[in-house]
Symmetry: C2
């Protein structure tokens, strides 16, 4: 009953969209939400309606769907319809969708590519030629440029035509190029609107050359650095240029939203030993394999820590209370180290900590580790005394906690800094390394001290 009502509601929405097309009542993202739900509830209706979507919005919807939903859609959509949908997309979106399709069927992606005109093909080839983390891979090629000899009036006229043709969308700035087609300035529309219509840009720029000086990024710049630039200078668009200074495309605020979120997800996932590329795909086997790699490493370090305990089997045999208490030392050390590690990884990632000020962070972390180490050494010592009524065991506990806190704070801070210095990602593998240290050293200190002091 409930499901039947839900399906009816979704198809009603789609019918209403199909009736009122052109009035722009719906954003594509609203429609793709409807299709995502419909895809779960009723595959037939899902296929029926995806076939009926007009090509001017179908590409955007397909781009939003999960792999599984996209696969379903590809089964019922004609090649011609797919080609036309991709033609309606902006260059970066067209490239993304084609890549999504390629993952499902290389053959189909190839056919679609063949069906596109030369300009679209070249654009897609260009965008695909960049590495995943290059600015070029994120830019869109649709930009609005004007030569510095052009008048403001002429530029606005040209803009009117291009917009009317649907060739340009969401333009907030004009990129001004010089005699050699090189980027010389960026003028935002809120400035353009106030200029004398008959002036060529050259004249306007010559009066206040610094005012419209353009920030830009290179197509091969690291996208992470680009995102930082947007954040630091509160930008909403940046031109992307090549080695010769030609304008290749632009990166806009909505790209940056995605990048900032992806980067954060990547950091979080790496810390937990999870791969952000496969997690979104819902393919349990890929996820198992990727997570398994880290679990395997964790198994190795766990056996290593266990081997430390193995050295003290006889000690434990005599005083099993040690086996009861030793996980407390390891667990609390791990927790403490993980706090420091997470803060360092995040702050390194955001650029708040770097070569110039990491020593401040280290100093701070050491104060925190030793302070809390002293406090918890006291508490844990007291707790274990109340429990086992053996002041030697309690003393060993206290000293082990203090030492493990100190080591945890030190390693939690230094591991990501060192990884960064070695030019690797400070989030990858660092928490497993840290846990190994706090576990193995935790057991070693506790059991070693016990053997030394108690027997």
């Amino acid at each position: 009953m409930r499901i039947g009502r839900d399906i009816l509601q979704l198809t009603d929405l789609l019918e209403s969209f199909l009736r009122n097309q052109g009035e722009e009542k719906f954003h594509y993202s609203e429609l793709s939400k409807v299709f995502k739900r419909l895809g779960r509830l009723d595959k037939d209706k899902y296929r029926e309606y995806i076939k009926r979507m007009p090509t001017n919005i179908l590409g955007d919807i397909l781009l939003d769907l999960s792999d599984r939903n996209l696969e379903d859609a590809l089964e019922v959509l004609s090649l011609k319809k797919l080609i036309n949908s991709i033609k309606h997309l902006e260059s970066d979106d067209a490239t993304d969708l084609l890549e999504d399709i390629e993952e499902i069927s290389e053959e189909l992606a190839h056919q679609i590519m063949e069906g596109l005109d030369n300009k679209n093909q070249e654009e897609i080839q260009l965008l695909r030629s960049y590495e995943d983390d290059h600015a070029g891979a994120y830019m869109q090629l649709e930009v609005f440029m004007a030569n510095h000899n052009e008048t403001v009036r002429n530029t606005i006229e040209r803009f009117r035509v291009l917009k009317g043709n649907g060739e340009l969308e969401n333009i907030s700035s004009v990129f001004i190029t010089g005699d050699y087609k090189n980027l010389v300035a960026t003028i935002s529309l809120d400035d353009l609107i106030l200029f004398d219509l008959e002036s060529p840009f050259k004249e306007i720029l010559s009066k206040t050359p610094e005012k419209y000086r353009s920030r830009y990024v290179r197509d091969t710049d690291d996208i992470e650095e680009v995102a930082k630039l947007f954040k630091e200078y509160d930008l909403s668009v940046l031109p992307v240029i090549d080695a010769q200074g030609y304008v290749m495309g632009r990166i806009t605020a909505d790209d940056i939203y995605d990048i900032l979120q992806e980067l954060a997800t990547e950091q979080m996932y790496n810390l937990a030993g999870v791969d952000d590329d496969v997690e979104g795909e819902n393919r349990a086997m890929d996820i198992s394999r990727k997570r398994g790699k880290w679990q395997f490493l964790n198994m190795c370090t766990a056996f290593f820590s266990a081997s430390v305990i193995g050295q003290y089997q006889e000690t434990i045999e005599v005083l099993p209370a040690l086996a009861v208490l030793m996980p407390i030392v390891a667990s609390m050390g791990g927790n403490t180290g993980n706090q420091a590690l997470t803060v360092m990884v995040r702050r390194l990632g955001m650029g708040e900590v770097d070569n110039t000020n990491w020593d401040q962070s280290l100093a701070r972390e050491m104060i925190v580790a030793v302070t809390n180490g002293l406090i918890f050494a006291t508490l844990v010592g007291l707790g274990s005394f109340l429990w086992f009524d053996n002041y030697k065991v309690s003393m060993v506990m206290s000293v082990a906690i203090l030492m493990n806190f100190t080591i945890a704070g030190l390693c939690g801070t230094l591991i990501p800094i060192l990884l960064k210095k070695l030019n690797t990602d400070p989030a990858v593998g660092s928490s497993i390394l840290l846990t190994m240290i706090t576990d193995a050293l935790g057991f070693l200190i506790f059991l070693g001290l016990a053997k030394l002091l108690i027997f």
Copy 2:
């Protein structure tokens, strides 16, 4: 030597800025970077130059500095200069800076507030009246509006004057209001530029009413939802309205960069038992206290897990190999659970997982947990057999690993979902709760099975 050269380089940069003011060669964020470095290297020079900064950029610089640097600056800046710096800031920045100053000296903040004119005072009071997570707390009040009866020409003329006065910056859209000053449409400048100058907006809007229909947020909306809206609809600006539909202010792309990053940081930090509000402040004592709260909880759960082991002291006494192996079960279960937990927390936070599809995630996580549980049960069983040459111990190990993986996957997925259903943050406390379960149950299953099967 090295430090001397660095200081000279920094002061040279500042001298060059002071000489060429008005040519806009520097962005404030470049200057604040210089001051941050100078503040570390040479306090006297830092104070000398901060005093010499002009008020039209001083506020922006102060806003970027750390608490400690700001405190230093406040010691040498006159009240009058502070007041003028704040006057130059946009409403949201002025409010933020005043709040930063208030944390250092309530008295000084009060004096500055008194020195501002009524309009500034009211703006700051309004912005401060919102809760921290309300859209209103993030908006800036500087907006450009036009009544729907106004002509395009008139609007542009008004815009010219406001921009000339420096009252408006970074405007990309005009908010159109109706007869009752209520928001009726948003027109971006790339559309405005193409309109017939003599038409009133009413006429333009009546032709395609849906095209300029304005998205908006309420001032009391949750800022996290607002950020999702920007991401979902690729927006660069949104008007903020009150309950009556009046335009209160706007939220722009640069606010969203900050919010997306803050939200991600908060999630990561919460997972690790760290408080994002105090971590940035560099006050070791505050950090110690906040982290200590979670360490205390961790201590309690560690003692609880230890108490489980305590029940099996006699078993361990007879077969100390159990004490050696038991941390492997706990550690690998914790690792597995943490993978699932991190993915769930992040996907819940980004809205990818919700009420409608959490069962898919659970199904996926269970497949992953059981698959890898079987694999690692085999590996760990084999490893422990090679080590201790006791097939009973190895069998217990294998079963315990499989069971703990399954429990870890189940709890890692369900804990955040349940916390979310209870309307609390799925990241807060969830990893400590999870670790308690995987530790305590890991020990219980392993030692319990051992007692049952071996003796």
